[in-house]
């Protein structure tokens, strides 16, 4: 029963199969243990944060295989730099910051920051060929991702962090290093560009 979630302390299992008993896995505790070289603790940190990091990187690079590779790189760097991490209340913000840098390095290694769309992004005003039903679900993902790829790198990062990762403006400031004013402007412009790309789809659904 999903509605009777066993929100319990976890029993950690060692690699040799023995149990360490009940461990309260607070974030602070996991970070402290991971700093001490406890890979199972770092494994739990990975388990908690890998999905949003993978999603963010996928939004940034547009390729699943690359996003997975960069997720690994992000966590390896995080492990290396755990001793530098100070503000434990914002571990996810710190992690997104690393992910953003990793994505930026990759993007710069290819073509100038603007990603090529696999499907070809929708030109403004050109109706998508499929009917409404076809555009929903998986098709919606394709269209959104195409539109996302038409944004430049910084704008895409701000948009993805706000809209898909529900970060606050202040968190985005910390992750990107942009000023609050720049975050607001980039977000507003990203929304406007996305709206233009998705105009036909949005009008069909209104």
């Amino acid at each position: 029963m999903i509605d009777r979630l066993a929100l319990s302390a976890n029993c950690l299992e060692k690699s040799d199969g023995s149990h360490t008993g009940v461990v309260v896995n607070s974030l602070d505790d996991l970070i402290a243990r991971a700093r001490g070289g406890d890979q199972s603790a770092f494994g739990l940190l990975f388990e908690r944060h890998a999905r949003p990091v993978l999603g963010f990187l996928y939004n940034q690079v547009g390729r699943r295989d690359v996003a997975e590779e960069l997720t690994q790189e992000t966590f390896v760097r995080a492990y290396r730099c755990l001793s530098d991490f100070r503000d434990q209340a914002r571990f996810s913000t710190w992690l997104f910051g690393i992910a953003k840098n990793v994505a930026r390095e990759w993007t710069r290694s290819i073509e100038g920051g603007r990603l090529r769309s696999v499907e070809g992004h929708l030109p403004n005003g050109v109706a998508p060929p499929s009917p409404v039903d076809e555009l929903l679900g998986k098709e919606l993902n394709t269209i959104l991702e195409s539109a996302l790829r038409s944004l430049d790198e910084d704008r895409r990062a701000v948009f993805a962090l706000k809209v898909f990762q529900q970060c606050s403006y202040q968190e985005i400031v910390e992750i990107t290093g942009f000023s609050l004013a720049k975050v607001k402007v980039e977000l507003h412009r990203a929304r406007a560009e996305m709206r233009r790309c998705l105009r036909v789809y949005l009008e069909t659904n209104r």
């Binding site: 939004n59 966590f75 929903l136 959104l144």
Partner: protein, 280 residues
């Protein structure tokens, strides 16, 4: 303030980023201004669409295995660097245990006792069971909607909601098969499911149900009278804000059962409103 001054604030208002007093002003203005309410409504539709975006991504056991392998091959161990490392090393080397004579005696006795217990344990034929303790936190009693939707989000596909016969179901089945395979692999590698994984699963199931119901609701929009439609859109926009807020809370405090409960309840509410729309 005039509409020209309010409209740039609407995005921030919907992002819940305005100060309380300004947010109150914007809310009052939206209640009384049709054109600004229309702008907010359009932004709400966009948000609704973005909330349905769910890329088919899975954190596979291979991903963690890759991280683990790379960490293992590195000689670096997390800890202080440079001068800080030198200071810590020298301190450790020069450190003298600050233990009194009585404490030392107690430690020796404890060590002897532990050794005796260990020897006895080794001689016994049956090993003791693993100390596997599970402290379950009871969530708040779920509402009817929560129970219905959480226990079976796919049950959103009930008699009132008539989706296209085969295609959506097949898609959900395929997803479920893939998820099950992934779960089995994950269990083999990472052991029993953690509460965090269970919450993720519940969330994914809600999102699947919401995506399906949104399609039905989108079809019915033209048949709903404008006043009701506006109310429903407002309700969905409010729920989306709640979902965004509670998701954020859960992301920041994944061990907080209250945050999880609120998030799942918000999803259940959205399922309910979408069902209401689809049933019009």
């Amino acid at each position: 303030m005039r509409c020209e001054e309010f409209q740039p604030l609407i995005e921030e208002y919907l992002d819940s980023e305005l100060a309380e007093s300004t947010a109150g002003e914007v809310a009052r203005h939206l209640d009384n201004c049709v054109s600004c309410a229309e702008v907010a409504g359009k932004l709400g539709v966009e948000r609704e669409m973005y909330s349905r975006y769910e890329p088919d991504l899975q954190v596979t056991p291979d991903l963690w295995a890759g991280v683990q392998a790379r960490i293992a091959t590195e000689t670096h161990v997390p800890g202080p660097k440079g001068v800080a490392w030198l200071i810590v090393t020298v301190k450790d080397a020069l450190a003298v245990p600050r233990v009194s004579g009585w404490a030392t005696a107690a430690l020796v006795l404890l060590a002897i006792g532990s050794t005796a217990v260990f020897m006895k344990y080794m001689q016994s034929a049956t090993p003791p069971p693993h100390p596997q303790v599970r402290a379950t936190v009871e969530p708040q009693p779920p509402t009817r909607e929560t129970t219905q939707a959480v226990s079976s989000p796919a049950a959103a596909d009930d008699t009132r909601v008539k989706p296209d016969p085969e295609r959506p179901k097949r898609r959900i089945e395929i997803t479920a098969e893939r998820t099950n395979q992934g779960e089995r692999q994950a269990r083999q590698v990472l052991g029993p499911k953690t509460p965090h994984q269970l919450v993720n699963e519940a969330e994914q199931k809600y999102l699947a149900a919401i995506a399906m119901l949104s399609r039905n609701a989108a079809r019915k929009r033209s048949q709903i009278d404008p006043v009701t439609l506006e109310k429903l859109d407002h309700a969905i926009a409010a729920i989306n804000r709640t979902i965004a807020g509670t998701r954020k809370a859960v992301r920041e405090h994944p061990d907080d059962p209250i945050a999880v409960q609120y998030m799942l309840t918000a999803y259940a509410r959205k399922v309910d409103v979408l069902r209401e729309m689809a049933a019009q």
